[in-house]
């Protein structure tokens, strides 16, 4: 009798194994950047002129880096959540405008200055319409800063601590539940230290 049960037990084990595998999100890939200093960059900001931003400017503060673009559909879904969050909490969110001008865009081939101008205009219009949760947005036109941060899907959100170390990364649209259960507790913990 007991011998008959062995295949059944083995089969159940396999089922559990596969069921867990099905539930997992294949897009959730652990980032090797967690616990490492946020990669350095200096980029033009969304405001006109020669204003630039660098992560060093945020030294001593806990902040969020949110990767977005006006062409990104999931960002539109995420945006109201960020706007509500920024009104409620005094946590600086920096936007990273990722490859605003896509290769299929006629403006893609334009000289850098023109591209920057077009990207700024588009992003400003978009933020005016949907609200602006960012203290500043930086323009990563060619996506190379994105590569340094391991960006592979927009939107992405990073939590960076006072010392400039990346503590958390989320790929996909941030939800109120994620903010409440994961990001806010982490931030208050980081703010204590």
């Amino acid at each position: 009798m007991k011998k008959v049960l062995i295949p059944l037990v083995l089969f159940m084990g396999l089922v559990v194994f596969l069921a867990v595998g099905l539930k997992r999100d294949p897009r959730e890939i652990p980032s090797p950047l967690i616990g490492k200093p946020a990669p350095h960059f200096t980029l033009f900001t969304l405001d006109n002129g020669d204003g630039k931003f660098s992560p060093v400017d945020m030294q001593g503060q806990v902040w969020l880096l949110n990767v977005w673009a006006t062409w990104c559909v999931a960002c539109r879904e995420e945006h109201p959540v960020l706007v509500a969050f920024s009104e409620k909490h005094r946590l600086p969110i920096v936007g990273l405008s990722y490859k605003e001008i896509q290769p299929q865009d006629p403006a893609y081939k334009a000289p850098f200055d023109d591209k920057l101008k077009i990207a700024r205009e588009r992003s400003q219009v978009w933020l005016k319409r949907h609200g602006n949760p960012y203290i500043t947005t930086v323009m990563d036109l060619d996506g190379r800063v994105g590569i340094n941060y391991g960006v592979y899907g927009v939107p992405e959100t990073y939590v960076i601590d006072k010392g400039g170390v990346i503590r958390y990364k989320y790929v996909g649209a941030v939800t109120p539940a994620l903010l409440a259960e994961k990001i806010l507790p982490l931030i208050s913990e980081l703010n204590k230290s």
């Binding site: 294949p26 890939i29 980032s31 090797p32 490859k99 290769p103 190379r144 590569i147 592979y152």
Partner: protein
């Protein structure tokens, strides 16, 4: 009339084909074939993070294009293949490698199947030995021996 239709169809198809062939921008291949060959080999070993089950070489995703360009730039600046891989692993994690490195964390992945095969072989051996013990040879009686002889003679 027929010839005119044929002509129109031919012209139209030529126009269409021409537009198809210009739809995608050609890669700057000719510039340095040796460099391109290295980019090609390397990008076959790197995963496209967006499509996940395609290599950088075969993927048409935009990020794959960007990363191929990045690989090209790194090689041009004199980086070795290993340094290029390390660069990408530092940003995207081990997942970016199509062939995961052999290290304690990936031992199960690399050697698990062989261990399973070994375990299965041991089970099979034990099982076969038990069966052989069950069917122990019985000595033939004289009558039976006689019958066997008859049968073999045919």
């Amino acid at each position: 009339m027929k010839r005119l239709i044929l002509k129109t169809v031919l012209t139209l198809s030529m126009v269409l084909m021409a537009s198809v062939s210009t739809a995608r921008e050609a890669m700057p291949m000719a510039q340095d074939p040796q460099l391109e060959a290295r980019v090609e080999v390397l990008s076959q070993e790197l995963r496209c993070m967006v499509c996940q089950n395609e290599s950088l070489a075969s993927s048409r995703a935009e990020l794959a294009d960007d990363l191929r360009n990045e690989v090209r730039e790194l090689i041009r600046s004199g980086k070795s293949d290993q340094e290029v891989k390390d660069f990408l692993v530092a940003r995207y994690g081990d997942f970016v490698l199509y062939r995961p490195e052999v290290k304690p964390l990936t031992w199960v992945l690399w050697f698990g199947p062989f261990v399973l095969l070994g375990v299965a072989a041991i089970f099979l051996g034990v099982y076969l030995r038990q069966r052989r013990a069950l069917a122990s040879p019985v000595a033939l009686s004289d009558d039976e021996r006689e019958r066997v002889k008859q049968l073999l003679k045919g």
